[in-house]
């Protein structure tokens, strides 16, 4: 579904991503892990068009997408969340869900800001995460965990095929993490594909069917969770020791 080939990106003299080739299979939940500064978020930003790669290519559903603007990539069917939650803070919860657009055309531009079917869809999603009572509340007034949920369901509004989650569990309490894991699994069963960056190893090991490990911008390993856990390169670069991983679980 998503294939990157030899993606390279430097900032000054530092190679943030170095000849990185990854593949995300349709219908999978793929984890992208690595120590801080290993290039995970940079790779996310390259896939979603926020950064242009210095070299390499990206294909989504067999179509090249490198060089496209983030909005066009979104229209192709890739949605994303951000490491630090980004929402339209002074807008209401409902407005945050209605803002995403699937395509640009004159008809879309001039059409009613809040359409009935969009509102219904937004309310369904809010009901699903149990936040429908906040529909008219400014999103900045919600708790951090609730904001993370809103960011995730706002991505769903444009009905993407592939969803990139950048540290969805970062700073979120354990109960909310459980809820988020259930949501991702639910959505995956409904056919959504996920690529997620996460430091919470328990979440990654339980949720992901396939894991890719980056270090210093390069892919050092990939495979199913149990394989990755045993890989000496990974242990050295990131996980520390198997005991720690098991203890974390």
């Amino acid at each position: 579904m998503l294939i990157t080939e030899n993606i390279t990106k430097s900032f000054g003299g530092i190679k943030a991503v170095d000849a990185c080739s990854i593949e995300v299979k349709q219908g999978s939940i793929t984890g992208l892990i690595g120590p801080n500064g290993s290039g995970k978020t940079t790779l996310f930003n390259i896939i979603t068009g926020f950064y242009q790669p210095d070299a390499g290519s990206i294909h989504f559903n067999q179509q090249p997408i490198q060089g496209l603007k983030p909005s066009r990539i979104c229209h192709k069917g890739i949605g994303r969340t951000f490491q630090i939650t980004r929402l339209f803070w002074k807008m209401t919860v409902l407005e945050n869900l209605i803002v995403p657009v699937k395509q640009i055309g004159w008809r879309t531009l001039l059409s009613q800001g809040v359409k009935k079917h969009e509102e219904e869809h937004a309310m369904e999603l809010l009901d699903w995460v149990g936040l429908s009572q906040y529909r008219d509340t400014e999103v900045r007034k919600l708790s951090f965990g609730q904001q993370k949920l809103i960011e995730l369901i706002a991505v769903l509004m444009s009905d993407p095929e592939l969803i990139l989650l950048d540290e969805p569990a970062g700073g979120v309490n354990p109960v909310m993490i459980e809820k988020m894991m259930e949501m991702v699994e639910d959505l995956n069963r409904q056919g959504k594909t996920f690529l997620l960056v996460e430091h919470n190893m328990r979440l990654v090991m339980e949720l992901c069917q396939h894991i890719i490990v980056l270090d210093h911008g390069q892919k050092i390993a990939e495979g199913i969770p149990s394989e990755v856990q045993q890989n000496p390169l990974v242990l050295e670069a990131y996980l520390g020791s198997t005991q720690n991983v098991n203890a974390g679980a």
Partner: protein
């Protein structure tokens, strides 16, 4: 809440009613003149608000489009006999086209860099107006024949009346467009851009397209106003229109009334323009009205940083919930 909703419908109708009969009731040319200028200020601030308020891009370059509209109308009137009341609507499309091109370049910058780039736009237009003397008559500016229609000049006593109605028509169109934009996906996207441009792009909003369109539309109505203005004064020169003060005035009026709101810029214009005229008539043609202007703005910034209308709205909401909880108790 219900009362506020009713007021939002009733007040504009009452205002329109008053403005429709104003020149018939108020026959003093001085007050008619002030009203034409007030309507024009409301048009300019409301139009600027589309890019500056909704999208949050503080352009100080819109005087360039005001001047361009004025020059195009004056030149085509003198050269081809096109009547300004008709031509200004079409010539402002040229202004909007120029604004689209300017916006396409300027809107690559953000924040203070954008403000500086837009100021540069005014200087470029002023230089062009000063140097393309074959069309603009250089520093001397362009003069137009005294206003009239079909070869008949309007009598001095009634001369302001047609300008009042055409400016009122323009204001209605500007507010309608602003309202229509605010209600649409386009307007929602502009506000999303103001809140977080990167996030807006990530959720599928083509931010560059939205911004450039908003810039062009906001230049259109200001261009029309510039055309009417040059006919109203029958004279236009580079220093008068390609002046940063023209831009600053519309920005400050919008901020005063409530930037990003539909009616804020109109309210701001109806406060500032008459007040500025009154100060000038009281204290003479010095720049003292600028001091008053600054003082009022300082007061608003300190106590109502969102502008008058949002502050009023918040006050009414709070008062409403207070009376509701009091009645519940």
């Amino acid at each position: 809440m219900e009362k506020i909703r009713i007021a939002k419908v009733v007040l504009p109708i009452v205002l329109l009613g008053i403005l429709l009969v104003y020149p018939l009731v108020e026959t003093s040319q001085y007050y008619q003149h002030i009203m034409v200028m007030t309507l024009m200020a409301a048009v300019m601030a409301s139009s600027w608000n589309i890019i500056g308020g909704y999208a949050g891009y503080t352009s100080l370059g819109h005087a360039a489009f005001f001047g361009l509209g004025g020059y195009l109308v004056a030149w085509t009137h003198n050269e081809y006999g096109w009547h300004p009341f008709v031509s200004t609507w079409f010539l402002a499309l040229v202004v909007a086209g120029v604004a689209l091109a300017v916006g396409w370049i300027a809107l690559r910058t953000q924040g203070s860099a954008f403000v500086v780039v837009t100021i540069a736009v005014i200087f470029i237009f002023r230089l062009l107006a000063l140097n393309l003397s074959a069309i603009t008559n250089g520093a001397q500016g362009l003069t137009q024949p005294r206003p009239g229609w079909g070869g008949v000049q309007w009598s001095p006593e009634l001369m302001k009346v047609p300008f009042h109605y055409i400016m009122l028509l323009l204001l209605c169109l500007t507010i309608y467009s602003s309202w229509r934009i605010r209600q649409s996906k386009f307007g929602m996207g502009l506000i999303a851009i103001r809140e977080d441009e990167g996030k807006a792009e990530a959720v599928g909003i083509d931010t560059m397209l939205y911004k450039v369109l908003a810039f062009g539309i906001s230049a259109y109505f200001i261009g029309v106003a510039g055309g009417i203005y040059s006919y109203f004064f029958t004279y236009i020169d580079p220093g008068f229109v390609f002046d940063i003060f023209v831009s600053v005035t519309m920005v400050l009026i919008a901020i005063l009334g409530g930037r990003g709101t539909l009616w804020g810029p109109v309210l701001g214009a109806f406060i500032m323009q008459p007040l500025a005229n009154w100060v000038v008539s009281e204290f003479g043609g010095t720049q003292i009205h600028l001091t008053v202007f600054g003082g009022i703005l300082l007061f608003v910034m300190l106590f109502m940083p969102q502008g008058i209308l949002p502050a009023l709205n918040e006050f009414l909401m709070r008062w409403n919930s207070k009376t509701r909880s009091a009645s519940a108790n």
